[in-house]
């Protein structure tokens, strides 16, 4: 992961933090279990390598206890969508202000290659010698369906990934980033169909806010099929994308975001970049505000609390013990 190398390198790392406007002492990387979750050990920040699937819950407690911290979650397709799918969903719907990097390699790497919830149907693995029969989970659609207010996508070797991460970091609230990760040991080149440099232009749609959804050297674009209420690929002649009906990407358009995360690769290019970014009040802000409002005008006098309610006094000279 070239972009990660930058963050890990003590000197280059500082520059990256400065770029993000981040302070390593206030940054905490929290991970679950899996290849993805070794990540905190490579960072010169605070880090907590927790238990399988539960990183979102630890992050929630951490952030509620100290909202000043800059919290990154590192998870994978098994950790974040299988054993920890529940926690991922609840963190997203609560909108805890943090960044979630889900490294999707479509395989259980650390346990030597079993198929994962994102593995494509028919994946052969030690636990599915005749091929997997499950329908795979789609991380970005899952996140958006759970209420995420930021959904980004990139892949391990893409040069645009740092920009997606920067946008995620700038987003106030839960920012979900699906990062396709090539597991060179157990699931080699599973993303080559769109990630390979050769032909990438035709197979990758890099989304930019306010820009038309163009790909294939601007010769094709994404338009709305108004009859079917779906997206469609249209040809663009002489650069006249408006005439072709190509949609201008609006990162705050939730309806289009739903269509982008559902867009089947093959028939369509892979949608990458910031698919959706529309902030909403964060969980920790709401909790802090409520705690403050409920405490207003009240003292933390414990003696008063202990003697609250109906009391009575036993006087000296009463029955002896």
């Amino acid at each position: 992961m070239p972009w990660m190398r930058g963050l890990c390198d003590p000197e280059g790392g500082a520059a990256h933090y400065a770029q993000l406007g981040a302070d390593p002492a206030k940054t905490v990387f929290i991970s679950g279990i899996g290849c993805s979750s070794r990540f905190p050990y490579y960072m010169e920040t605070y880090g907590f390598h927790t238990i399988h699937g539960r990183a979102p819950a630890f992050a929630t407690g951490l952030k509620l206890a100290n909202p000043e911290l800059d919290v990154w979650l590192v998870t994978g397709d098994g950790d974040g969508l299988s054993i920890g799918g529940n926690h991922t969903m609840h963190l997203l719907r609560r909108n805890l202000n943090c960044q979630i990097m889900l490294f999707n390699n479509e395989i259980y790497g650390l346990t030597k290659g079993q198929y994962s919830p994102t593995s494509r149907e028919g994946t052969t693995s030690p636990s599915t010698p005749y091929g997997s029969v499950d329908h795979p989970a789609r991380p970005a659609a899952f996140a958006l369906g759970s209420g995420a207010r930021f959904v980004g996508r990139g892949f391990d070797v893409s040069k645009n990934l740092p920009d997606v991460l920067k946008a995620a970091h700038a987003h106030q609230g839960a920012a979900f980033i699906e990062i396709f990760q090539n597991c060179i040991v157990y699931n080699k080149d599973v993303f080559e169909d769109f990630a390979a440099p050769k032909g990438a232009e035709d197979r990758q749609l890099w989304l930019e806010d306010g820009k038309p959804m163009l790909f294939a050297g601007d010769s094709k674009g994404i338009a709305l099929d108004r009859d079917a209420l779906t997206l469609k690929v249209v040809g663009v002649v002489d650069g006249d994308w408006e005439a072709a009906g190509v949609i201008v990407h609006d990162v705050t358009n939730r309806s289009v975001a739903h269509m982008l995360v559902e867009m089947p690769f093959g028939e369509f290019p892979m949608a990458l970049g910031v698919l959706y970014d529309d902030p909403k009040a964060t969980f920790e802000d709401a909790v802090v505000a409520q705690n403050k409002a409920a405490s207003e005008g009240k003292s933390a006098d414990l003696g008063k609390l202990l003697s609250k309610g109906q009391t009575w006094t036993v006087t000296e000279g009463g029955p002896e013990l």
Partner: protein, 528 residues
């Protein structure tokens, strides 16, 4: 008593005790429902007891007829009518109940008035009815008590207040992560209303998230607390292991209920002792404290916070459904009597450099809040190297770290009081050794046995793990030991294992607390 209530409860009534039955409820239909072949009020089957049967239903309807309630609502006042009669029987003041009813039904003044009328009518019935026979008035003198200010407190309230006090004594904000479960939810409810005490409560998506969030908060420098009952505690097991491995403070409250599985959610039991002491993967030692009564929960909660923060360890506090829901009078404690144990966070590297797993004289590691400049480090569940805290799989390091974790928790025994004998003397012929909510029946039974001249002592253990330093010697001073428990013998096993003493089990797992009579019988049996 209606037929169903009579059938369920009459076995618990001692011979010669008084049954007050509502004859208006003893219809053919209700008798059939309760599976009575004949009417027990008439067939002589209640001859062992005193019986007072009259039509409370009709008397209640009569008492509340001015309030325009329907028959169903009117009959709902029956409990207040009967309570009024009971207050007369024991010569007790009605005013606190009247105040309570007025407050409870502040928005429904008619209902309040009807209930008060029923209460007064029941009382007046006792005063005026020309009842010969069993109905007599008794005057019970107030129980002997130390002078001071009193209130009533339930176990759930007392734990909540103790946790608040503990957090204040430690100088920490508190974070409570919980998930609804019977009978533990009341703690979440109480703490949710105490935000001005620096408490953040979080109703998590599940039991696992509740404890993980609490550990996350402890990592951030708050006092993390979570609470549940057996099934939820089972789910939290892996996270407890992480708190043990990362050596972060945490208080876990287990309000035990009947098990296994969903078991008896609303009934009391003490069957999670093994789970508390042994119930985690790996060698995962963790201090365990058990409260004996609602009032005792307060001190136990403070003690749990002290151990957790001084030793950087999760601590489990055991109560049960009986303690959580029961209320008792409580002499409001003077907080000046509690010694503060303020937490000192590490803010800068000590001389010789910062090491996340360096240890103090209690073998506790430093507590560093993320956000502290210059002390960035990584923690996690993989085995840590001594001192540096780096990942380390070396055989000798795992041996050393396992030994350290054990020694740290064993060392807690050095900070707890010696085990006392709460009734009787060391060296008695028989010790009745209990823990948790069996305190009341054991204590009374031992008292009665002593009055009969039997050489019996009562030992009640608060510190289940590690046990007080003198416990082995104390237990060996007795000729015989019985261990009454609402399980199949869990403390008994622990005591036998730790001290090689011949502790004999006395067990009850019916979901009901021991009665004093059962305890007395067990004592007599043990002394045979």
């Amino acid at each position: 008593m209606n037929p169903a209530a009579l059938k369920t409860n009459v076995p618990a009534l001692r011979e010669g005790g008084l049954i007050i039955a509502d004859s208006g409820e003893f219809s053919k239909r209700n008798l059939d429902k309760a599976k009575y072949d004949s009417n027990p009020l008439e067939d002589g089957s209640l001859a062992r007891w005193q019986l007072l049967a009259f039509d409370i239903s009709a008397l209640t309807i009569e008492a509340v007829k001015d309030f325009g309630l329907g028959n169903k609502d009117a009959l709902r006042c029956k409990n207040m009518w009967t309570l009024g009669l009971a207050l007369w029987m024991f010569d007790r003041d009605r005013q606190p109940l009247i105040d309570w009813l007025n407050a409870k039904f502040a928005k429904k003044p008619d209902i309040a008035a009807a209930n008060i009328a029923a209460l007064n009518a029941g009382h007046a019935y006792g005063e005026t009815a020309e009842l010969s026979g069993p109905l007599k008035q008794y005057h019970v003198e107030p129980a002997p008590a130390e002078a001071g200010l009193y209130r009533t407190v339930t176990g759930a309230e007392s734990i909540s207040l103790g946790l608040v006090a503990g957090a204040q004594l430690a100088g920490l904000p508190m974070f409570f992560g919980g998930y609804p479960i019977t009978p533990a939810s009341a703690i979440l409810h109480h703490l949710s209303r105490l935000k001005e005490y620096g408490i953040t409560t979080f109703q998590a998506e599940d039991e696992i998230a509740a404890i993980c969030a609490a550990i996350g908060a402890s990592y951030a420098g708050s006092l993390g607390v979570t609470s549940s009952s057996g099934p939820g505690i089972a789910l939290k097991g892996e996270a407890m292991g992480l708190a043990i491995m990362t050596e972060l403070p945490l208080v876990i409250v287990n309000s035990q209920r009947g098990g296994p599985s969903t078991g008896l959610p609303t009934k009391t039991e003490q069957s999670d002792l093994y789970q508390a002491v042994y119930g985690r993967n790996g060698d995962a030692p963790m201090p365990v404290i058990a409260a004996r009564s609602p009032v005792d929960c307060f001190d136990c909660a403070i003690e749990a916070v002290r151990i957790a923060t001084e030793y950087m360890t999760p601590v489990m506090l055991l109560t049960d459904g009986y303690i959580a829901n029961a209320a008792e009078p409580w002499k409001v404690p003077d907080l000046d009597g509690y010694k503060p144990f303020p937490v000192e966070f590490m803010n800068e590297a000590p001389e010789g450099g910062f090491m996340p797993y360096a240890r103090d004289n209690k073998l506790a590691r430093p507590w560093v809040k993320p956000g502290t400049p210059g002390l960035m480090h990584r923690i996690g569940g993989i085995e840590k190297a001594q001192d540096t805290g780096h990942i380390n799989y070396a055989p000798e390091n795992h041996q050393a770290m396992t030994d350290i974790r054990k020694a740290k928790v064993d060392g807690v025994a050095g900070s707890i009081p010696d085990q006392e004998v709460c009734l009787g003397q060391a060296g008695a012929k028989l010790a009745v050794v209990g823990w948790g909510s069996t305190f009341g029946p054991i204590h009374q039974a031992v008292k009665r046995a002593q009055r009969k001249g039997l050489d019996v002592a009562h030992v009640h253990i608060r510190h289940i793990w590690p046990t007080p330093a003198n416990l082995g010697d104390l237990l060996r001073s007795f000729d015989r030991i019985i261990v009454p428990e609402m399980n199949t013998g869990q403390l008994k096993t622990l005591l036998r294992d730790q001290f090689l003493v011949d502790a004999k089990p006395v067990n009850k797992v019916s979901g009901q607390p021991f009665t004093i009579a059962e305890m007395e019988a067990a004592i007599e049996e043990a002394l045979k």
